[in-house]
């Protein structure tokens, strides 16, 4: 190869010399409203919203009681990332619903804000020279994790709640570690950019901007931000217009999905949400009997509940269970996918069942389902969950026998536990050896 061409290609690859035509030239970017103020307003919304989504995500992980091991912990290699874990309480009963509902709805609301923020700073992706210094190189690497992480978390979350997983990895593994990769880059970004954000926000008053129409919209002061267009086009939308589109999109997304989180009376308003709309005479199902490979024959008169612990094994028919002292509790069930439903459950207290083989407060319980394989065929309940007098092995819901899809012959319902730990088609309860 000609040496001159080779040297030119090297310079190009390193981003030296004159920028090539296209997005690397500052004149390419012509939006008259891009600028540090607009980016900072969107950034400040994310600064408030992202910690909420992150913390509720961590809490949702804690709600699975991963310390009990087995299927409760989808990420057993978490190491010190589990530093904050604690035994999940059973009070208030709506706790998990609020945590996961906030996680999903705030995440949805931030989706347009993230896209708006990325639009507002995209000229920075094409800065020239591409790598100015070691500091610049490291910061850009961190931005790959920041932007990649934000998009990855939004996409995996959004697709997972729509029961669509075009990937081969476990959602739990990828979404949890992805969140930690992202949050490292996020904290760095906030530390580096907070002064710029505060300064930019002070340069203009939000109240004035919200009163400025298209006719009076002018580009921001050119500074060293690299965001303000060198040769701006005539504006076609005001800054308040852009903020209105972003905010309106967030409201629309939440408004059309929020009903599935508020549950029941509001569900019909959720026109664009996987468990929104109407369920005539019924409430939503996470996984059906067909979807989990439950055979009707296994749930018939031959079905027995086995309770195993302290070297004793008790086997009960459904009639035996119906003959025991029955309790009725009105409890919500909330799914990790962000929807909630509150129903009236009737059944036998878990504590009463465990007492048949030993002391009721002794330990946690491994609940196994008839389900063949699958992600949540068994779940471990902590001692406080078993002990809670509202925790039931439900036989009926709203006065009728459970339907097959709702877990006939018997299902667990535990206050404030994630829905997948309210095991359906229960086959056995096994007392866990006391860890203490």
């Amino acid at each position: 190869m000609d040496r001159r061409i080779a040297s030119r290609l090297t310079r190009l690859a390193l981003g030296r010399g004159q920028p090539p035509p296209g997005p690397f030239r500052p004149t390419f970017w012509r939006s008259p409203i891009r600028g540090p103020w607009l980016s900072s307003v969107l950034g400040s919304i994310l600064l408030l919203g992202i910690p909420v989504v992150f913390v509720t995500g961590l809490l949702s992980y804690a709600a699975y009681n991963p310390a009990l091991g087995g299927g409760n912990d989808r990420t057993p290699d978490k190491g010190i990332l589990g530093f904050y874990l604690f035994t999940w309480p059973t009070d208030p009963v709506w706790l998990y619903g609020v945590v996961i509902g906030t996680h999903v709805l705030v995440g949805l609301a931030l989706f347009p804000v993230v896209l708006g923020k990325l639009w507002s700073v995209i000229p920075k992706l094409f800065t020239w020279p591409t790598l100015r210094s070691p500091a610049h190189a490291l910061e850009r690497l961190s931005l790959v994790l920041l932007v990649g992480g934000a998009v990855f978390e939004l996409v995996t979350g959004l697709l997972n709640i729509q029961l669509f997983s075009p990937w081969s990895f476990s959602f739990y593994t990828a979404h949890l570690y992805g969140a930690w990769v992202f949050i490292g880059a996020f904290v760095t970004h906030v530390a580096l950019k907070l002064p710029t954000m505060v300064r930019s926000l002070h340069a203009r008053r939000l109240r004035d901007e919200l009163r400025t129409g298209l006719a009076d919209t002018r580009p921001e002061e050119p500074g060293d931000s690299g965001l303000v267009a060198v040769s701006p086009a005539a504006p076609t939308i005001s800054r308040r217009g852009v903020l209105g589109i972003v905010g309106g999109s967030s409201l629309l997304l939440v408004g059309l999905a929020g009903g599935q989180t508020l549950g029941d009376g509001f569900r019909r308003t959720a026109l664009l949400a996987p468990r929104g709309g109407t369920f005539p005479g019924d409430f939503p199902v996470n996984k059906t009997a067909v979807g989990t490979g439950i055979r009707r024959a296994d749930t018939g008169s031959d079905w027995r509940l086995e309770i195993d612990g302290n070297g004793r094994l008790v086997s009960l028919t459904r009639d035996d269970l119906l003959a025991m002292e029955r309790r009725t509790e009105r409890l919500p069930i909330a799914c990790v996918e962000g929807w909630t439903t509150t129903q009236t459950w009737t059944g036998v207290r878990l504590a009463d069942l465990v007492a048949l083989v030993g002391s009721p407060s002794a330990s946690g319980v491994l609940v196994s389902s008839l389900q063949q394989g699958g992600a949540f065929g068994a779940a471990r309940l902590a001692a406080n969950q078993v002990r809670d007098p509202r925790s039931l092995l439900a036989l009926k819901v709203n006065g009728s026998d459970l339907s097959l899809d709702h877990g006939f012959p018997a299902r667990v319902i535990v206050p404030a536990a994630p829905g997948v730990h309210c095991t359906k088609w229960v086959r056995s309860l096994r007392l866990l050896a006391d860890k203490a």
């Binding site: 790959v144 880059a185 760095t188």
Partner: protein, 159 residues
Amino acid sequence: MRRITDWYGASPLHLVALLAGGAVSAYAVTRVPSLDLLVVIGLWFAGMLVVHDLVLFPIYAAVDNVVAWLRANLGGDGLVPTVNYIRVPAVLSALLLLAWFPLVFRLSPTFERDAARTDDPFLWHWLLTTAVLFIGSAVLYTVRVRAARRKVSASQPPL
């Protein structure tokens, strides 16, 4: 100190912030249980970044340019700029689709089997929402144009 700053290109605090955040990210990466899994997740991670920056952004920027061009070359009597009455409902509708395309296009092969319900209505719900957005925008536009015309004719004496 000065030499470090000159070579590095920023203050040492900049490096501290990057190393601290980078340590969290790097630790999380080491927690992924297998290299195969890490590669798969990494490819999706990078893929989504590329799809946003080099596919989605250029497409929507190009579409927006077309809309702006149409406005400049076709726009009515110029009393009320038309572009945002198309742009706003179009962006809102597109964002709904971007968020919910697996439901709208029924991409989940197990949705009906798992959820005990059909995913047929979502396409109609999205189309309905889109129609409401565009009709609402058109109504608002008509109202604004009428108001602007009244204002113009009120300020011009009859011939």
